[in-house]
Amino acid sequence: MNVITPQTQPDVSAQSLTGYVDCDVHPYFKNPAELDAFLPTRWREHRKEYGARSRSALAYMPQYPRLSPQNGMRMDAFPPDGSLPGSDLPFMREQLIDLFGMAHGILLPLLGRGGDERNLEYGAAMCTAVNDWMLAYWCDPEPRLKASIQINVEHAESAIAEIEKRAGDRRFAQVQINQRGLEPLGRHRYRKILQAAAANGFPIAMHLGGTSGHASTAGGWPSYYHEEHHAYVQSMEGIVTSLVVEGVFEQIPNLKVALVEGGFAWIPALTWRLDKHYRRLRTEVPHLKRLPSEYIRDHIWVTTQPVEEPERAGDMLSTLEWIGWDRVMFSTDYPHWDQDDPRYAFKVQIPEQQKRMLFRENALAFYNLA
């Protein structure tokens, strides 16, 4: 049999996963024209004649080539008809939803790119179109799948209108915000959008990826995708730090935040450091009434994929305990090249009760699902 030593036998007892919640599933279109049906004529024409202008350094291509086709797909996830991975609902049921007995899957579409469109009116129209597309192509035919509301945070008026338009529609689980923005998310200019999300009962989620147009590290553009992938973690740290230190959680005490695909083992170290500096620097930020770690503990949730794999597998349990077992939610990232299989993602035995929390209960509570 296959052998990985030492102490890294896969957690096969995870067969009891039926009813798990997957917090990161990526739907794609079979044909980009699918979105046209949901765009007003004015923007359909614009899309045809000018196309997208995202806030990235390069147009129509990823900043960093990936190691597998179609911008980083799982090689065996192409549907039988050869269309894009994630574009075929029956095949997604076969490879993911039914295979693992998924109770709910949270859709995070990475298409249309309305969220980082420079033409803000077009971006807003594209966000609305992708929201409607998700309902028509995914959530209505497969109610186990829940949508994430697309918005462009640089157009606050339309972003708030879109959140309010979807309020009360239980097919939507959360508001999706780009991980990399023009300014840190805690800045005042974004506050009303965050307030609108919380006021309408939606958590916000940041999925890794994209570029804002700024270099992706504070030291400039990296050379390799390997570096870029780690720079996503730095972006997540920046978001958390900004939300905490700007006092967002003081002002919006019911705001819940999910960080998707940005790792999680860094959270304890960040809280230790922020707390240390708070003791010395709190007169600079007198609006903070509690330790940074307390805001993080109350407001930040993380998804698991790609699960870190510490050298000593058992260290994973300490890490999860430091973050809080009730703050970690399982995700596969299907159908991407680095997706996790719920049966084998963790290389350490997780106690049964914690496993139920991590694979199911935390997400049910976070998204208020039954």
Partner: protein, 137 residues
């Protein structure tokens, strides 16, 4: 250990592979420059169908800016996370000490020997004049 006839040699020219199921186990049979190898179709990392992965070479470098591709077609890249395994040994490229994929003994036997038995060849018709790829399992 029973010997299983899995293919004719004509069926598996160099650079090709065949996926077979022996006693419930999916096994990939590879021909690397005339030598045959058999690996279980399951990545030790997260269980993906490893033997459906891409055949690649070994990219080596002594210092930044210098690269050489060695042993083309002798490494198997997992279709999920891209872990690479040496088809000749089953060893993992990224963790050769601790991670390897189960491999099986493969031989080429003449049809004259195969027809005498005791070989398991349920799906391969055997002719005396042919040559056959045989896996020990």
């Amino acid at each position: 250990m029973p010997k299983h006839v899995v293919a004719t040699t004509e069926e598996l020219p160099p650079g090709t592979r065949k996926l077979v199921t022996i006693r419930g186990r999916e096994i990939g049979i590879f021909n690397i420059a005339g030598d045959y190898y058999a690996l279980i179709n399951r990545c030790p990392h997260e269980g993906a169908a490893l033997c459906k992965g891409k055949l690649v070479g070994r990219m080596e470098s002594d210092k930044p800016g210098e690269y050489r591709l060695t042993r083309p077609g002798e490494m198997l890249r997992c279709p999920w996370h891209g872990w690479e395994f040496d088809i000749r040994t089953g060893q993992s490229w990224c963790d050769p000490e601790h991670t390897y994929v189960r491999s099986y003994q493969v031989t080429v036997e003449p049809g004259a020997a195969v027809v005498k038995g005791p070989y398991m060849a349920e799906t391969i018709p055997v002719r005396v004049e042919g040559n056959y790829v045989v896996v020990d399992l």
